[in-house]
């Protein structure tokens, strides 16, 4: 038992978790219709990437990866602010948040 808990979690488990989270994000992005859900899927993908950054930083004892995570989080926060503002504006204009309906750019 003790050997099981004293052992460190292997690298591959973290990466696998990261890959699963990322895939969930991609699938969510592709199949969900609601713009807010799509937005949340993006956040999910970003955090999956963050997880792999932290993992590698820990593995190789390099602080750069950790710093990078802060950058990603900061940009994600800014993006969330702008993105949500756009979503509200779109909802006011079109009274819908269905991604398929927002296709004004189509030729």
């Amino acid at each position: 038992m003790s050997s099981l808990f004293s052992q460190e979690v292997p690298l591959s488990w973290y990466l696998l978790l990261s890959a699963v989270l990322f895939s969930l994000g991609v699938v969510g992005f592709l199949i969900k219709r609601n713009l807010i859900t799509v937005f949340m899927s993006i956040e999910l993908m970003l955090n999956a990437v963050n997880l792999s950054f932290v993992t590698f930083a820990h593995e190789w004892h390099a602080v750069k990866g950790q710093i990078f995570v802060f950058f990603v989080m900061m940009v994600a926060a800014a993006e969330a602010a702008v993105g949500l503002a756009i979503i509200i504006a779109v909802f006011r204009a079109r009274a819908t948040l269905a991604v398929d309906r927002i296709d004004l750019m189509k030729l």
Partner: protein, 654 residues
């Protein structure tokens, strides 16, 4: 040589006038345009005059500068310096270019003054003067040129100015067409000039006139061969610019331009550039007897040919145009018998009296509100006494009466021709017949326009303003006394540039006899015209009725335009329309463009479907792309492939 005297000032002054009036002319007040336009040629004339006075030792300050002609000024930086080819931008002032410059800038200035009155009501006043100054710029470059390439720059430039001014009334289709015709026909001549220049480079390795002269002087035995070809090429160039057979056809049409332009460019200066060029390169012609003979034959043939057409023209300016062609033929004849100084002498006097006749014709046209048809004039003697007087001077001068200017120069050419042996006698006889015809057609013009009864009773002719009359009077004075210097003194002056002729074979009593013959012939022409157009005005129509064939031939100008139309213009247009237009342009170029454009359009139409506007489809493509890249990186392809493919992969450099 001297810092005080700069040859480049001569062309620069008109060029400055061209720039000022050409760029700002529309916004400047009219008096300022006039001032600039007149100051430019006046400044050029002033510099030339200083040079001339310095040469004759009158202006003491410049005397040592000019004392030793030729005076060369070369731009310190070489113009073209590629391997063996070395061309400088150099100007040369020698006796020949001095005489020519005096004529170009002097007569040019007078015609500028005349234009102030003639063009005063025209909308394109500033444009007109900027073109006229541009012409003067290029003409002085042509005259001052120290090598063939600089001369060619001026040569092309005067062609451009001529084109712009012939087509000055460009709203009129005939004027625009005439400008194009002049330009295109001149291109044919320019082609000859260009080939001549290439051959000069190939044979002499230089284009500088003095260097060519020195090389030929060092090899007196070098005759014919390549020199003949070069000289014939230059002759082709000269026939284009100087309106000789077979390229004369553009000059009569050039009369579409304003009359002062006809006087300046198409009578006094530009069309004499061919004669000047032959005189400038006369050493080449001296070493190519065949080419020299060709010059004489072309000149004599043109003189006679154009004079016969001039007999029946009814447009006052066209009579003068054919007369100009004919007189230029005289100059070529003079060059062809190696009497270059006589040819230049005739060039000078012709510039005076032909400019006078054209400007007087302009005054007549001006007073008749644009009427150019001789049949509608008549009786202008009483209405326009001053114009009548100056025209009479011009008429007497061109007909060759003593002591007017034309007598001396025409006599010099005829005398030079007569002393050239048996073939010279033939040329002399042709010249004499031409003199008879000249006298007849010019007196015909005189009688029809000024004497008899008015044929348009509604017109109220009036004398022109002083700005037009003063140049006329000055030119009339020059037409009277321009020849008094005499051919002996004139050729002695020009001798350093054009060489002295070999001593004459004729006896001392020959010259007076020939002079008397020439005057007698001129008198005969006058009497004939008097009989036809004053005593029995019905006679000309009877004559034309009696000889319908030859009359029709003359009225239609020997059908030369029609001949060129059928042999050159129509085939060219056909080739352009069908071969170049349909096959090359429409089928090949158009097809290729259509193919390229069509491919792009088709590809665009296909790819357009990709831009669905659907966010999820974009995301799916993005994910698929990322997956493909991942697949490419992660999968160990080289182990999966068969060995043979792997080998190819290696060989491709991976």
């Amino acid at each position: 040589m001297n810092a005080l005297f700069h040859l480049w000032l001569i062309p620069l002054a008109p060029f400055a006038g061209f720039l000022i009036n050409g760029i700002l002319g529309r916004r400047l007040p009219k008096w300022l345009v006039t001032t600039v336009a007149l100051l430019a040629p006046l400044a050029a004339f002033g510099v030339v005059l200083v040079a001339a006075l310095g040469f004759f030792g009158i202006g003491k300050g410049f005397a040592p500068v000019i004392a030793s002609l030729p005076f060369t000024q070369t731009c310190p930086h070489p113009w073209i310096d590629i391997g063996a080819l070395h061309v400088d931008f150099s100007f040369v002032l020698d006796q020949l270019s001095l005489v020519m410059l005096l004529v170009v800038t002097g007569v040019g200035f007078l015609i500028h003054v005349y234009s102030v009155g003639y063009m005063s009501d025209d909308e394109g006043y500033a444009r007109y003067f900027s073109f006229l100054n541009l012409f003067l710029f290029f003409m002085t470059v042509l005259v001052l040129a120290g090598n063939a390439l600089v001369m060619f720059v001026g040569w092309e430039g005067v062609g451009l100015a001529s084109y712009l001014l012939i087509g000055f009334y460009f709203q009129k289709k005939s004027a625009a067409d005439a400008g194009k015709k002049a330009f295109i026909v001149n291109r044919i001549g320019d082609f000859g000039f260009l080939i001549g220049m290439f051959l000069l480079l190939a044979n002499f390795g230089t284009l500088t006139f003095s260097a060519i002269g020195a090389k030929l002087a060092a090899n007196p035995g070098w005759q014919g061969g390549a020199l003949t070809v070069i000289a014939l090429c230059l002759l082709l160039g000269a026939t284009g610019k100087s309106a000789q057979l077979p390229l004369y056809i553009w000059l009569p049409d050039a009369m579409e331009g304003p009359t002062p332009v006809s006087a300046l460019i198409h009578a006094a200066t530009m069309v004499t550039a061919g004669v000047y060029m032959i005189a400038r390169t006369h050493i080449l012609f001296d070493h190519a007897p065949f080419a020299l003979g060709a010059v004489a034959v072309v000149g004599a043939a043109t003189a006679l040919f154009a004079a016969t057409i001039g007999l029946v023209q009814n447009d006052i300016k066209r009579v003068l145009a054919y007369s100009t062609i004919s007189q230029l033929g005289y100059m070529f004849l003079g060059c062809g018998v190696a009497a270059y100084s006589a040819a230049i002498f005739h060039l000078v006097t012709h510039a005076f009296f032909k400019a006078l006749l054209f400007l007087a014709a302009g005054a007549v046209i001006h007073s008749m509100d644009g009427e150019q048809d001789l049949r509608k004039m008549g009786g202008l003697r009483k209405k326009l006494p001053v114009t009548f007087a100056v025209t009479t001077v011009g008429v007497l001068a061109i007909a060759g009466f003593f002591p007017f200017a034309g007598f001396f120069s025409k006599d010099a050419i005829l005398y030079a021709a007569y002393t050239q042996g048996a073939s010279g006698r033939v040329l002399w006889f042709v010249g004499l017949v031409t003199a008879l015809l000249t006298s007849f057609y010019i007196f015909r013009l005189w009688y029809k326009a000024f004497l008899g009864e008015s044929r348009s009773p509604d017109a109220h002719p009036h004398e022109s303003p002083p700005s037009m009359m003063v140049p006329l009077v000055i030119l009339a004075a020059l037409s009277i006394c321009g020849g008094w210097i005499g051919i002996e003194r004139f050729s002695a002056f020009l001798a350093p540039s054009t060489g002295l002729r070999a001593p004459d074979a004729g006896s001392a009593s020959l010259e007076p006899i020939l002079s008397i013959a020439a005057v007698a012939v001129a008198l005969l022409g006058w009497l004939a015209a008097d009989r036809f157009y004053r005593q029995r005005p019905v006679r000309p129509s009877q004559l034309s009725a009696a000889l319908p064939g030859s009359y029709k031939l003359l009225v239609h100008k020997y059908y030369v335009d029609e001949f060129y139309g059928w042999t050159v213009v129509k085939p060219l247009i056909a080739i352009s329309t069908y071969l170049l237009g349909w096959v090359v342009d429409t089928a090949l170029v158009g097809g290729l463009a259509w193919l390229l454009g069509g491919t792009a359009t088709f590809a665009g139409a296909l790819l357009q479907r990709w831009q669905s506007g659907n966010l999820r489809s974009y995301a799916a493509w993005l994910a698929a792309g990322a997956a493909a890249v991942l697949l490419f990186i992660v999968v160990p392809w080289s182990t999966l492939w068969p060995a043979s493919l792997n080998l190819i992969w290696k060989m491709a450099g991976h």
